[in-house]
Symmetry: C2
Subunit: 485 residues, 2 copies
Amino acid sequence: MSLTIKLQSFPHLNNINHNNHAKNIIKNKTFSNQNNTKILLHKPIFGYNPLIITKCTKLNKRMQGSFMIKSSLIEPDGGVLVDLVVPENQRDSKILEAKSLPFVKLTRVDFEWVHVICEGWASPLKGFMRENEYLQSLHFNSIRLEDGSFVNMSLPIVLSIDDETKGKIGSSSNVGLIGPDGDCVGILRSIEIFKHNKEERIARTWGTTAPGLPYVEEVIAPAGNWLIGGDLEVLKPIKYNDGLDNYRLSPKQLREEFDRRKADAVFAFQLRNPVHNGHALLMNDTRQRLLDMGYKNPILLLHPLGGFTKVDDVPLDVRMEQHSKVLEDGVLDPETTIVAIFPSPMHYAGPTEVQWHAKARINAGANFYIVGRDPAGMGHPTEKRDLYDPDHGKKVLSMAPGLEKLNILPFRVAAYDTRDNKMAFFDPSRSKDFLFISGTKMRSYAKSGENPPDGFMCPSGWKVLVNYYESVQTEEASQQPVLSP
Amino acid sequence: MSLTIKLQSFPHLNNINHNNHAKNIIKNKTFSNQNNTKILLHKPIFGYNPLIITKCTKLNKRMQGSFMIKSSLIEPDGGVLVDLVVPENQRDSKILEAKSLPFVKLTRVDFEWVHVICEGWASPLKGFMRENEYLQSLHFNSIRLEDGSFVNMSLPIVLSIDDETKGKIGSSSNVGLIGPDGDCVGILRSIEIFKHNKEERIARTWGTTAPGLPYVEEVIAPAGNWLIGGDLEVLKPIKYNDGLDNYRLSPKQLREEFDRRKADAVFAFQLRNPVHNGHALLMNDTRQRLLDMGYKNPILLLHPLGGFTKVDDVPLDVRMEQHSKVLEDGVLDPETTIVAIFPSPMHYAGPTEVQWHAKARINAGANFYIVGRDPAGMGHPTEKRDLYDPDHGKKVLSMAPGLEKLNILPFRVAAYDTRDNKMAFFDPSRSKDFLFISGTKMRSYAKSGENPPDGFMCPSGWKVLVNYYESVQTEEASQQPVLSP
């Protein structure tokens, strides 16, 4: 398939840095990506990103007739979307088999990873990583496929076991997986057990070993000294029965929904916070830019993360309620927006993790990914500074092996414009007019019951937060010791 | 160019794990490497490695007529060997220019990196890394070229400056480089200054932040909070005037020497220790295997590391004297061996660093690289264990992006066979016959003046070590406080 380049100017945009990957395309006039698919080249549409590479909808021969490709604006990594849930007619026999095997008890977070793997978010990964995949992920943030090409794989997706479990497994080549509620969840086949060097895993994943990393404290510190990899089979679709399962669309279901809506572009927005009008501005602005680029029906995938988050993040159920208000209020257009839950746990691993967030959305069928300042970042656990350089996330994302086919859309910072009393893209030429409302600031507003400036967030969405923080405060208050006067 | 596969059996060899990369070749019957060069496929010739992929000498069109390619058994990374020493006729004007610029004072180790970069060991790198290259190295251990292909680049090759120097540089786009002895060494052009996050650099490079890593203590801890990247120009060939410069052959000189000797295969052996008969066994065995594979004139590049090493390693001059005795004694054949110094400093960063050691030898023209147990490893600085899994080095090397064209030759452990009184490949079936003589053990022999078992090392080479440790002990003794009876 030949490569064609088409340039469109967006003269109204500022001049900005070029990302390397895009520069190469300019210099070479072509871009040799593994699938050798036709690309269009556009001038920058957002503050940082110089170029948007638009992959045309195009069937890859080996994919034709394969169900998940009908909807493909972008091919799943490895070409085929992984689906590891066993057919219903085999379920009973597999359950019997699973119960006959030595077993591994899954934590809540292990269970979330089983969910992620079995629905193909981590395609082409077919189970928990064996050492070959683990080492490639740790050292290269990518995995080499049999054709020599690379897929991105920046987080080790691993299952740990302790010495006792390892002993019980003995020489068995398959194990059963028991969920946190005691149900039999699945089978891990052709297992490989290898050392779990926690220090090295933490250092290479987070770029620090400082105490206080949420995922480390919750998941890795208490974990066993061994990792067990193998091919996963899941006995039935994963459900949480928390009233939110209807939001948990699998990559296959999302791709089908994009089809149903006849989307010709899908732009994904990963978040783990309430949606304020700055986010909305940016998402609506993105849609407009895509229309300007000639797309007829760009669809927004508003994709809150649903797995493990740190204690001071707003809980999933509250966020989902807040998001629904934002759509009810029409701040985002329900006609062109799909709200769904991304089941992954959160690492807070900055530039390493943002690659995972983007890669998983490729598998979900999104061909545009929006990335902001300091994605998946947090404060340093022991020092008074950001853990990561706020610009590294988008830079690393723009250079990451295996993400070439995804269009990265970095965005400018939005802040409250006190001149026009609304959220607007920050204008350095009149910085004094802008008010930055951080998560902490937002929370202090909500805690104190004080309203944020008009136009910061739709009132009904804000009410959801106020109610939540009131309930938290009541709870905290009830835990305070009584102070003597 | 088409790909042909030829299989040769080595039935006398044990059955061993397969490395992924090789497995893919088997499965696919072809290997799509970036240069699309003809390859031969062989069965394993050493304990671990399943396959040897032999790149045929073949001119790449865009390289024809280029000096360094005449000798190429393997192409330099990026296709052209970097050479940053300015022509003699421009030297005076460049010196004048350099003296007119704000300057950066180089440490001894910075100077060693200038040496490494300007001779093209790090090709295609043309200077100290800018942030784009630094981030790719840190996160992906590789750098993407403009054609979309990857070269390996596992260690950040960076120059640090402090706040004061940054202030003095101001808005200048070029800086002069002043060597540790005060001479003007070179110019760094189109500079980029970016933050030096030491913690993240250390964690991602070593997989630990434990105190006591030699390179960290010597180089990073005292370094400034900024990194300065740019294009390097070196004013004259790097010399140390330590009597060993004649051993410091550049990649260009090595490629010319391989030509002169009409080598049809070059196998590199990286070391920073004295050569004992176990090493010799392995190197001679490798040569024999290459002859068995049909090569007519395989040449050994015995390539001791010449840059920074930790205090308890044997110093370079002593090692070079010991190596020369090994050749004088005919333990290694001078006719088929080239001894030269690899000017890089040592990181002791295990699986991350071994990629650098291999990549630099590609640029030096070696198409086979020998890797052993725990390459570039050391004990954990604060725990009683190896810092790295001893097998990870060869595994990571076999999977590393950008090293596909290099033939990795893992080897079995050699030990002293008390049955036959010689160094031999360890035979697990009669493990009790084998004596493992570690570096520490060797040293304790040499210190005590006690001789190691006959056949451990050639006597003249051993004498060099004994003399060295005697001199050290005398020195230490002279520093001991006198003890009261």
